[in-house]
């Protein structure tokens, strides 16, 4: 087993455990902190896949902004989830069964993919990748429409969230 595989296994176990703890821990603030651990694990996975830019983005946006937003949202709630109520819904076995079936289907599908057993390809240095990504992002034959639509999506998210937040504040006053 190569060093990279050892790193992958450790990171995968930590990420999965943190992911389970996000839904299993009884205090919402602990869930948010476990979520940061999960996102950090995903960032390390990106790094092992030589997607350095996405590893940085994962830390910067997901941990630096989204987790903070979630924690601020938790701080807004007056009454945090009841610590006595049961966390498992009735009929939990049905979603569990669906998840297992979906996982089996995806794993089966991936196993038929010829590169599944293959090794990682060495990519050129990161700067060239990033420049190619940037060129493709604004290329009319590439991803310029998703690029501009992303801007409108962000605008809609910003306007909608400010509308909701400020509306509630005016009502409270």
């Amino acid at each position: 087993m190569s060093g990279l595989q050892v790193v992958f296994l450790i990171v995968a176990v930590v990420t999965l455990f943190s992911g389970v703890m996000v839904v299993a821990s009884r205090k919402m603030m602990h869930s948010a902190l476990w979520l940061i651990m999960t996102l950090l694990g995903v960032a390390i996975l990106f790094a092992t896949l030589q997607a350095g830019f996405f590893a940085i983005v994962q830390v910067l946006v997901y941990i630096g902004a989204i987790s903070i937003l979630i924690i601020f949202t938790l701080m807004l709630t007056r009454r945090v989830m009841d610590e006595e109520t049961t966390q498992v819904i009735k009929g939990w076995w049905l979603p569990a069964l669906m998840a297992v079936i979906l996982f089996g289907l995806l794993a089966g599908l991936l196993a038929t993919w010829e590169d599944f057993q293959g090794m990682l390809n060495e990519l050129p240095a990161d700067v060239e990748n990033l420049a190619a990504f940037g060129t493709a992002l604004v290329n009319p034959a590439g991803y310029v429409i998703p690029f501009e639509v992303a801007s409108i999506l962000l605008l809609a998210a910003l306007v909608g969230a400010i509308y909701i937040a400020m509306e509630r504040k005016e009502k409270a006053e």
Partner: protein, 118 residues
């Protein structure tokens, strides 16, 4: 390339180990004689006033959200900036359009008073 990340990993491990060592050595070596005054909750050396779980101002949420939106904008503009010298003029105009659309959001936030601390 991956070896560069190894340094980051070693650095992260060391940075996790140092505080963990400080805390665990203190926990192992320190004498423990608890009494009710020592175990009392305090904040910044003072006795606490009221419950700890108070509702925070909504401004924290709005600020974090505006930050998130412009963080994502910066992430999307970063590859474009890296490729800047290879790009034709219309590509630069496209990115300016991208910024202008989001500038509308900033203006909206500004007009709505979301950027003010009240």
């Amino acid at each position: 390339m991956l070896n560069d990340w190894l340094y980051v990993g070693i650095f992260a491990l060391v940075s996790m180990f140092l505080p963990a060592a400080a805390i665990s050595i203190a926990a192992l070596l320190s004498p423990r004689k608890p009494n009710s005054v020592k175990n009392a909750t305090y904040e910044c050396g003072m006795e606490t006033v009221g419950p700890a779980w108070v509702q925070m101002k909504v401004q924290y949420y709005v600020f974090a959200l505006v930050f998130l939106v412009f963080d994502v904008e910066a992430v999307l503009l970063f590859p474009w900036a890296v490729a800047y010298k290879q790009l034709p003029l219309y590509a630069v105009v496209e990115a300016i359009l991208f910024i202008l659309i989001l500038l509308g959001g900033l203006l909206y936030a500004w007009r709505k008073g979301a950027l003010e601390w009240r």
